[in-house]
Symmetry: C2
Subunit: 131 residues, 2 copies
DNA sequence: AGTGTCCGATTACAGGCGTAAACTGTTTGC
DNA sequence: GCAAACAGTTTACGCCTGTAATCGGACACT
């Protein structure tokens, strides 16, 4: 599922607080982004049409629920980003992001732990090709 | 400078081997991507028009040279990626990428060193930003 | 019951993108 | 010198995007 910029904004909101009604989305995004009602409605409709959202009719209103997992979309977008900007090579991408990002100490610690984990698992079982 | 997918492909090639003539780009990208000559020409033209490339006429041919720094485009694309997918928060982006990326031991080491550097510089010049 | 209101659906429209053919002018081989 | 090759410019076209107005049906209030 490829999402456009604007669609990401909508989906991020819905992933955070699904199921959601259109009015909530309209309120939130109108305030945050200055989109008109009509624009948000269009977004919702397109997302339903492309299968990223489902609607269930509760009484007379509809509730919107994500039909695609956020993690899957994130994975896809990340790969696409690394592919296009770094030619598919994740390491320079990471280096770049670390260099430019503002990271809290907690973030740094967490990242280091993750790297340690990766290094260890590599050392112990370095024949598992399970990705 | 915002580059589209296809434009990234062209620009990455040119950054790697500038200055370049159209024929080289056509040859490389025709082979790699199966693009027709016409398509590559269009890309080059559009990139010139949007200011990402410059042409200098050497004799009768033109040579294409990047007019924007790769690093600047990378920075912009990275920010845009983090913004759209992770709501501007770099830390989850990094965690995700580290989790899913295949990283060599060299990559891992390099990353850890970079993290250490960041942590140290933060500790030494910490002036109580409490956020 | 009529009218305003809310909400989803349909329609609109300009600009970007991927893809490419056609046109034009120059160079070069025959 | 003329035709083929080459290179840059113009034009084309359908789809996606961002942005939005308008339509149409159901409810709600007067």
């Amino acid at each position: 599922m490829q999402l456009s910029d604007a669609e990401w904004i909508v989906m991020n909101l819905i992933w955070d607080s699904q199921p959601t009604e259109a009015s909530d989305v309209i309120a939130a995004l109108g305030a945050d982004n200055g989109w008109s009602d009509a624009t948000v409605k269009t977004m919702l409709h397109r997302l339903v049409k492309k299968g990223a959202l489902t609607t269930e009719q509760i009484g007379k209103k509809y509730r919107y629920t994500a039909a695609v997992r956020q993690s899957a979309c994130v994975r896809k977008a990340s790969r696409s980003f690394v592919d296009r900007v770094f030619g598919g090579d994740a390491a320079p991408a990471l280096l770049h992001l670390v260099k430019t990002a503002k990271l809290s100490e907690v973030d740094l610690t967490e990242l280091r732990e993750l790297l340690d984990t990766k290094a260890n698992s590599r050392n112990s079982k370095n024949k598992g090709s399970k990705e």
